[in-house]
Symmetry: C2
Subunit: 142 residues, 2 copies
DNA sequence: ACAGAAATGTAGCCAAAGCTAATATTTCCT
DNA sequence: AGGAAATATTAGCTTTGGCTACATTTCTGT
């Protein structure tokens, strides 16, 4: 056996522990770039949860240094939050483009990539990038 | 916009809600087929959690009709549990083989597939199967 | 047979993420 | 200015899924 039996599942649990933070900072960055500011309401709609849940989640993000908030003011990203947002967004984009290149319909690719992105090792991302490039090459030749 | 903004995340949450059940029944079926019976200890080791956590999880699985237990006896799958185990196992196998066919090293593919499997739509699985077949074809030609 | 080891069960703790209801603040419109 | 609408906060609840500590039961080797 290559690795200890339980190690796979430890990784999954760790992936899930950071998943919400990644999706939130990614969403916050996107909403700010699109609308100038990001309000709790925007996030509640985006994630289809109550605004109370957003509030509590934002509280954890602030505790962990990803966002800065003041009462009744829009959410802002810290430098740490911006970095995580960029990384998450880039990774998400790779997974989405990969699925599309593989032939998955856009709607399904959009949904599936939202979950898959959090479980991709560097090995897997590298292979996905390579596949995208190859497909692009084939496209151009046509 | 193709779908409502929050629908993606609803799907992710639903995926995660069934994830543990899928992994457990899959593991139980595998352990039974390998060792004859499946005990809590086997699952605790497999998932790298305490035996108490296994106990509570098994309790939920029983409540939901996937397993049958009696005190101090090994865990058994119901028909419903066996069905879910087969489906989960087949799906997991597709994802694992797909990653390997894509060029991901075995160790990373084993880890990543454990998380990715729960987020693949039928669309994505179909494309993965097709890719595996194409790769197999290319292998045979060589 | 029985002592000790291994497995299982119980009690009680915690954090994350979801919710509703009620309250408070800010913003916007007339 | 004043009231309505939007937004944010607080209180208090739930389920899931993790843990340690301790108690009980079963298995195993001599
Ligand atoms: Mn994302
Ligand atoms: Mn995501
Ligand atoms: Mn899994
Ligand atoms: Mn996941």
């Amino acid at each position: 056996m290559p690795t200890s039996p339980g190690s796979r599942h430890r990784r999954i649990r760790s992936d899930h522990a950071t998943e919400l933070a990644e999706d939130y900072v990614e969403a916050i960055a996107e909403i700010i770039s699109q609308q100038g500011v990001c309000r709790g309401t925007d996030l509640a709609e985006r994630f289809a949860v109550s605004h109370v849940t957003v509030n509590r989640t934002i509280g954890r993000l602030e505790r962990d240094g990803y966002v800065k908030t003041e009462p009744y003011a829009p959410v802002e990203l810290t430098t740490k939050g911006q970095r995580l947002a960029s990384e998450s967004s880039a990774r998400h984009e790779i997974v989405l483009q990969f699925l599309v290149a593989l032939g998955v319909p856009q709607a399904s690719a959009a949904i599936d990539s939202e979950g898959i992105e959090h479980h991709c090792s560097e090995d897997t991302l590298r292979c996905m990038r390579k596949f995208i490039e190859q497909q692009d090459g084939a496209q151009n030749k046509k």
